[in-house]
């Protein structure tokens, strides 16, 4: 496998392009700050950036965790019992098509300004990928394995714990990655409207005060946290689903 350092190349190229554009003075420095100015903003504004990043991260963790506790057990049940699937399928298909951002006005009306509407929106954004992937994971269990369990007269409880849950785990992790991504998108948007803290709020505020270097700094932090959290989930998945090593084409 090629070295992971390779992945830095496009980022370095982007950085170079950015520097070149600022040197060329295509946009005034006030609108497009050069990299050095953004770096300086990190140094001077880091308490502010840190505080806002912490606020956003906390919201995503709370919202996604709530969604996980709700959607994964529900998905296991829907995947296992056809009657629940018939009951839930249309509702899932309808509600998952609604972009969480379109619910911001409703969330504001019901929950006011603050953490609550943001967390509710993240919860909604994270629920659908978790639910759908968990259902899919349960569905894709090899039929023979269920037969083995039935022939051994395994209880439904044992089938859930030892067969359905572990075999759905890789799909659950796929859902989790999508959920965190979706939650992260939602939190930034929600913070621009519904809360007075967090990276989304920081970015919007920076625009109002013409602090474009803070806007860019905010974007960099958002991207970095996205990368780190995704790497974290992948590492966790590799640990939990160690049995999958060498089974799939995807070498992690």
């Amino acid at each position: 496998m090629p070295s992971r350092v390779f992945g830095l190349l496009p980022l370095l190229a982007l950085l170079a392009l950015w520097q070149a554009v600022s040197w060329a003075q295509i946009y005034p420095t006030l609108l497009l700050p050069p990299p050095a100015k953004v770096a300086a903003a990190f140094v001077t504004e880091y308490p502010d950036i840190l505080r806002n990043a912490a606020a956003s991260i906390t919201r995503v963790i709370v919202g996604v965790s709530l969604a996980f506790c709700f959607a994964v057990p529900l998905g296991l049940l829907i995947g296992r019992y056809q009657i629940l699937d018939v009951l839930a399928d249309w509702s899932i298909q309808i509600f998952r098509s609604v972009p969480p951002i379109s619910l911001i006005p409703m969330a504001l009306l019901l929950f006011g300004i603050g953490d609550k509407p943001a967390i509710v929106l993240i919860f909604l954004a994270a629920t659908w990928p978790l639910l759908i992937n968990t259902i899919f994971g349960v569905r894709s269990i090899e039929r023979t394995l269920i037969k083995v369990a039935r022939a051994a007269r395994a209880s439904e409880q044992l089938i859930f714990r030892d067969i359905i849950l572990p075999s759905a785990m890789p799909a659950v992790f796929t859902g989790l990655r999508l959920a965190i991504g979706g939650g992260w998108l939602t939190v930034v948007t929600a913070e621009m409207i519904a809360v007075k803290s967090g990276l989304g709020y920081m970015i919007l505020n920076a625009q109002l005060t013409f602090r474009s270097e803070l806007i860019v700094a905010g974007i960099v932090v958002i991207g970095a946290i996205g990368l780190i959290s995704d790497q974290g989930v992948r590492a966790l998945r590799a640990r939990v689903c160690r049995w999958q090593e060498g089974l799939t084409a995807e070498a992690e």
Binding site: E142, T144, L145, K147, V148, A149, R150, A151, A152, R153, A154, S155, L158, D162, I163, P166, S167, M169, C241, W243, Q244, G246, L247
Partner: protein
């Protein structure tokens, strides 16, 4: 008394194109410790019959008795081995072997002791901590057989267990299976489409004619030597029973 007895067993599946009759009027018996092969071409219903005897599917006609008791769902007296081995990919070899005992609530120290016994017997001790995908096809099937034997079943139901293996591995596993059988004296019901395999293994061969499946049985004397004319004559006779029309066509 026969240990395993099928009388007038029939199976009709509901399908989108209407009911499909897979088996009709099957009579089959196996005495305690007998090795019976169910021989037939693909689609003849031999695997269906095994699934019925394993209690994994409900018959639509007739009676199946295991140990004198009318069958209703999987029996504690039988264990099944599948062609695609049916090992849980997220469990190590040892945990796979323990599963059938776990399903019957055998305490964990007794499980570990019995698993160790079978690991030794199947020469798998060095692989106890491996995952199934790290094993060769032949070894996986030995794990499948070990798992089936843990509960000391009085009948072993085998659904083309060596069908996916290469010729050498298959030959070795056939010999191992005969050794196990001579040692444990369980009844074996062995589904195969290979005349050679049936003639090599069975006390008695039940030949299926297809659509819907019906049975004629023939007894084979032991010991058997593939080099003798007697063996060749048996194979010829079975081939005639298995595909009479093809045999007739070849002669003319």
């Amino acid at each position: 008394m026969q240990f395993l007895e099928c009388r007038g067993v029939g199976k009709i599946y509901a399908s989108k194109a209407g009911p499909v009759e897979a088996l009709r009027g099957i009579d089959l018996a196996a005495s305690e410790g007998e090795f019976v092969c169910l021989l037939g071409l693909s689609g003849c219903g031999k695997s269906t019959l095994l699934q019925l005897i394993a209690g994994l599917e409900a018959r639509t006609a007739g009676s199946i008795r295991v140990g004198g008791i009318e069958l209703d769902g999987p029996s504690d007296e039988t264990s099944i081995v599948f062609q695609d081995h049916g090992l849980f990919p997220w469990m190590t070899v040892e945990r796979n072997i323990e599963f059938n005992m776990k399903a019957r609530s055998v305490p964990s120290d007794a499980r570990a002791a019995r698993a160790a016994e079978l690991l030794t017997m199947m020469r798998l001790s060095d692989f106890a901590a491996r995952y199934p995908h790290e094993l060769s096809g032949g070894m996986r099937q030995r794990v499948g057989i070990a798992r089936a034997l843990t509960t000391r079943p009085r009948a072993l139901l085998m659904d083309e267990p060596f069908g996916a293996l290469d010729a050498q591995t298959r030959g070795r596993l056939q010999e191992e299976l005969l050794q196990i059988w001579e040692h444990q004296r369980t009844t074996v019901l062995f589904v195969t489409h290979s005349i050679d395999e049936a003639v090599f293994l069975a006390d008695r061969v039940a030949v299926f004619s297809p659509q819907p499946g019906r049975i004629t049985a023939t007894a084979l004397p032991r010991p058997r030597d593939p080099e003798t004319p007697r063996f060749t004559a048996l194979k010829k006779e079975l081939r005639r029973m298995l595909v009479p029309e093809m045999y007739g066509a070849a002669l003319s």
